[in-house]
Symmetry: C2
Subunit: 338 residues, 2 copies
């Protein structure tokens, strides 16, 4: 019996195998009910509006440092939750906000973060409808943690889900991967590295709204914790299909690639906070590519792989003509990335 | 300029003046919108079901220790949020759950807490529809923090609110106050006290459902952080009326009174987690008293005071015939009580 069988470790929070097993073993078992789909980004509620069905999602935020190039924990707390609604095909409408503040936090820093949260909410068209604050004694809080829960509206006719994916479907990514993970890491002083790289943290609503009604679109997800590889594993597990990705086709910015090579990270496991992965029938994938590339958020969108028959593994065709398996994430070099 | 002007202190989380000012100054200012009523327990959303209008609320939980006589952080996370919906007159239907786990937490303890949360949810008739977990590095988490956001349904015809309170209305309390605060405090080893006292933490739904449709019921609230006195101050501020309470009428259990006298606490500021304060027209108050006393949760319910004309202060008529002002809470001897 290992340590991780008896005590929670950082690997239980990284989006990979340990986290999935903890959620299945503790949360799904104790809270199990037909509505709690632990693999869904957002769940439908049994209420309709004129515009569609209400959907519900929640996310917690612990990023360190609280402000980083390209964003801060406040804007991230809006984008993280509204993006989960967006990839479910919904339009975000309301957020609730939980704030856990460590005693001693600078009030001006708190004000900047909450102002940033307010701006991101207005830009994303969501209203912060209710909130709660708790103050944690010094040494028990890591500065600031946020949680946001979102309600959105999904058009009635929209049907997206892993179960709709078929052999031969194409996999798209809306832009370069891993910039959020590397930007946050570089902003931590202990790494002693500095760069111009900014997080990709942003609303993905323009991307999802542009294509959500396309027939042939099967599924969308934002590759956050655990990165692109983790979304690919969810698809492989959910479909029992294989996944083939082309290393040459996956967009990665040069500075991300450089830091990964220097520190031994694999960009496919790094968090993005403003990208969409979509799975679509081949002709629909081409249409999505055209739509996305015409948007400022999608200029570097690419078709990066294919859903295949065969064993549910994630295979990367390398740039030099080889193959390697992308395994499910187990350890995580980067805690508090989101 | 004091320390509390520049840095967040524990008093910013206690339900009293500093917390109110921080919420007004930072959160209401940066997130302000017509929906965000920072004084409401639950806010209406612009959607209806056959049974009523949807209402929304959220709460965070940081209680220490995680398990205490009469409850634990899991059941508290259900009762805290469903009680906010209940006192708004609503029937709770769905919860989202955010879990912040500190590295090193015993997985069996986590399982007990989540199992307790599941039981409380089933007993309260709510479904946990979505969730998120984050793991915090050792030393940055205080064990476990939870946040729950709830959606409930409030009958269309129901109209409750501070603004409906009138001179001469009576104030009721559904049971003895302060047991939660004292039970949690005694469960902390550093106090070196032990007692049989259990927290009052429980669902207040039976109490609110029994009376929510009574004409003449103006307002209900659960006196959690900051206790009874803090709810009285909210009413005084919201109505610009005075409040007169009768010390002899306010139910307080003997062990709570004894610990308060020993340690110099005032029971009127201690958290309850299973009580309702209601304000109603005099004849309605008598009807509520009869209803509540017939319920197991309300056997010690009492009419404890009156809304008066005059300056918005909270006056306690003492048992020996004197008067004292209950001031708005400033400092808090008990952090992490909820």
């Amino acid at each position: 019996m290992t340590q991780l069988d008896k005590h929670v470790g950082l690997a239980h929070g990284n989006g990979g195998r340990f986290m999935r097993e903890l959620i299945e073993d503790v949360f799904a078992r104790e809270l199990g009910n037909p509505q709690l789909d632990t693999r869904a980004d957002a769940v439908p509620l049994p209420w309709d509006s004129d515009e569609g069905v209400l959907v519900y999602t929640t996310d917690g935020f612990t990023v360190q440092p609280l402000e980083f190039p390209g964003g801060d924990i406040g804007s991230l707390a809006v984008h993280g939750t509204t993006n989960d609604l967006a990839v479910a095909g919904a339009t975000p409408r309301y957020l609730s906000l939980n704030v856990f503040i460590e005693e001693g936090l600078d009030i001006e820093l708190l004000r900047r973060v909450i102002a940033s949260l307010g701006r991101a909410a207005r830009e994303s068209g969501v209203v912060v409808a209710c909130g709660d604050t708790k103050v944690l004694p010094r040494g028990q809080g890591g500065g600031l943690y946020l949680a946001t829960t979102g309600i959105g509206v999904r058009p009635h006719e929209l049907e997206l889900g892993i179960e709709r994916i078929r052999y031969g479907d194409r996999i798209l990514c809306s832009g370069p991967i891993g910039a959020h993970g590397i930007a946050v890491m570089l902003a931590r002083e202990q790494f002693g590295l500095r760069g111009d790289l900014a997080s990709d943290a942003a609303s993905v609503l323009p991307l999802t709204h542009a294509v959500r009604s396309f027939a042939g679109l099967r599924f969308m997800r934002d590759p956050t914790r655990g990165g692109l590889a983790t979304v690919m594993h969810e698809i492989a597990r959910g479909t029992e299909c294989g996944i083939r990705l082309s290393e040459a086709a996956i967009p990665v910015q040069d500075p991300v690639r450089a830091v990964c090579e220097m520190l031994g990270y694999d960009p496919y496991y790094l968090a993005c906070e403003g990208r969409v992965v979509a799975v679509a029938a081949p002709d629909t994938a081409e249409r999505i590519l055209v739509e996305w590339r015409a948007l400022p958020e999608g200029g570097q969108a690419a078709i990066i792989g294919t859903v295949t028959a065969g064993v549910p593994r994630v295979v990367l065709e390398t740039s030099i003509g080889g193959e390697r398996f992308l395994e499910e994430l187990e350890d995580d070099p980067l805690p508090r990335i989101c």
